[in-house]
């Protein structure tokens, strides 16, 4: 990469032998620094170190981070990615890194999606270049975080929800987060933390965005062991969805989502959620 003040942080838990994102990053042409962010309650820390090297595995104190966050429930359950995501800001500072992207550990592809028109062909071959391109925009704009789109955003092709539901005034930001130590923010809630965060902070003027040109693809949600799977199976998506409703009841509801097996999901009315971005010419 051209920008040397950057690193990839892969957050992971209990999957030292199945960090799919690592292989995907290599396949898609990323050649720079990767750190594996693992909590001190993970019983497989040594295996992470063995697989990826002591210097590349960063351990954080999960309880200490959790104590600083509104978890949105009283379950006293630290099965969440919230704390790892929040730890990344402090970790980046300690590593003297200004810009970083936080990735989950289960990505199987980075694929082109919108290049003038909707497309599904072609996985990204040079992520080094794309991270630089995304970083350039991130640095020059005032976003607190920007993300790649997700595979699910494109269900239904050109009529997909990404276009018709939310993106025209949407500032969602999920899963992959380009961040900076100079623009810190805090993820909130044990469940649905990415949604809670871009809704609650977005409503106060923090800027988040999903860039639709490239979409990441993941292994099937709730279909593999480790990570958040156990928490989702325990609570279903009821608690997950309602966490965001509790945090922003004026514009978030729940609705049913899915084709074969329906499940509760949050539904955000964007025009009632986030202040809009307007040109400077309107300012007197």
């Amino acid at each position: 990469m051209k920008n040397k003040d950057f690193a990839v942080f892969i957050i992971s838990h209990g999957r030292p032998d199945n960090v799919v994102t690592y292989k995907t990053l290599k396949k898609c042409g990323y050649s720079d620094r990767i750190y594996y962010i693992v909590d001190n309650e993970d019983k497989t820390i040594e295996q992470y170190k063995k697989n990826f090297g002591d210097d590349n595995v960063v351990i954080f104190d999960k309880k200490a981070i959790a104590d600083k966050v509104d978890e949105g429930n009283n379950f006293d359950d630290r099965k969440t990615t919230t704390h790892a995501r929040n730890a990344c800001f402090e970790i980046a500072e300690k590593l003297d890194i200004t810009y970083f992207i936080v990735l989950d550990d289960d990505y199987i592809n980075f694929r082109y999606r919108f290049i003038d028109k909707y497309t599904t062909k072609g996985y990204v071959k040079n992520l080094d270049v794309f991270f630089d391109i995304m970083l350039e925009y991130f640095i020059k704009s005032s976003f607190h975080s920007i993300a790649f789109a997700q595979g699910g955003d494109f269900i239904d092709g050109e009529s997909c929800g990404l276009i018709t539901n939310y993106l025209y005034i949407s500032r969602k930001c999920m899963n992959s987060f380009i961040c900076s130590t100079e623009r810190p923010f805090q993820f909130v809630g044990q469940l649905n933390e990415d949604v809670n965060t871009y809704v609650t902070l977005g409503s106060k003027g923090y800027l988040f965005l999903t860039v639709p040109f490239i979409g990441l693809e993941q292994l099937q949600t709730q279909g593999q062991s480790g990570g958040m799977t156990e928490a989702y199976l325990q609570f279903g998506t009821y608690c997950k969805s309602f966490t965001t409703v509790m945090m922003h009841p004026s514009s978030v509801k729940v609705s049913m989502m899915g084709f074969t097996s329906k499940r509760l999901h949050h539904s955000i009315k964007w025009k009632n959620t986030i202040p809009l971005i307007i040109n400077e010419k309107y300012k007197k």
């Binding site: 072609g122 005034i169 986030i274 040109n279």
Partner: protein, 134 residues
């Protein structure tokens, strides 16, 4: 409802009835020429009901104060109307609206202009990788 969007030059209706050309544009809102009435900017229907019920109860004044503040979380703000209003508001009101993050100002087109460059750069990279397959 006039609304610039990332994919279309056409207006986007809330009912999603219109077709999209997939022309990618920055997520910038273009305020309308008409200044909305101030009461159009927010909807207190639910919060008012809650507040009236709280005020009519026999709970302590401290509890009332807390619950009334909490009830205001149900006030619905219409940020499109708010942006429309901002464009026609006085300088003083605009400054209060900015301080309260009711609109975001895109200074020097950092968001809009940068987005166009981002789009072009990604397209260029895509063509370099897949030109033979176009």
């Amino acid at each position: 409802m006039k609304q610039q969007n990332m994919f279309s030059k056409k207006e986007v209706s809330e009912d999603k009835e219109e077709k999209y050309s997939l022309k990618i544009e920055a997520p910038i809102y273009e305020p309308k020429n008409k200044k909305p009435f101030i009461l159009e900017l927010y909807d207190k229907s639910k919060s008012s009901i809650l507040i009236n019920q709280i005020n009519g109860s026999n709970i302590s004044s401290e509890e009332k104060e807390f619950l009334i503040e909490a009830a205001k979380r149900h006030t619905v703000f219409n940020y499109e109307k708010i942006a429309d209003y901002y464009a026609h508001a006085s300088k003083e009101v605009q400054e209060f609206m900015e301080q309260s993050a009711l609109v975001i100002i895109d200074f020097e087109k950092a968001i809009q202009g940068g987005y166009v460059r981002l789009c072009e750069n990604i397209k260029q990279q895509y063509l370099e990788e897949y030109q033979d397959e176009e």
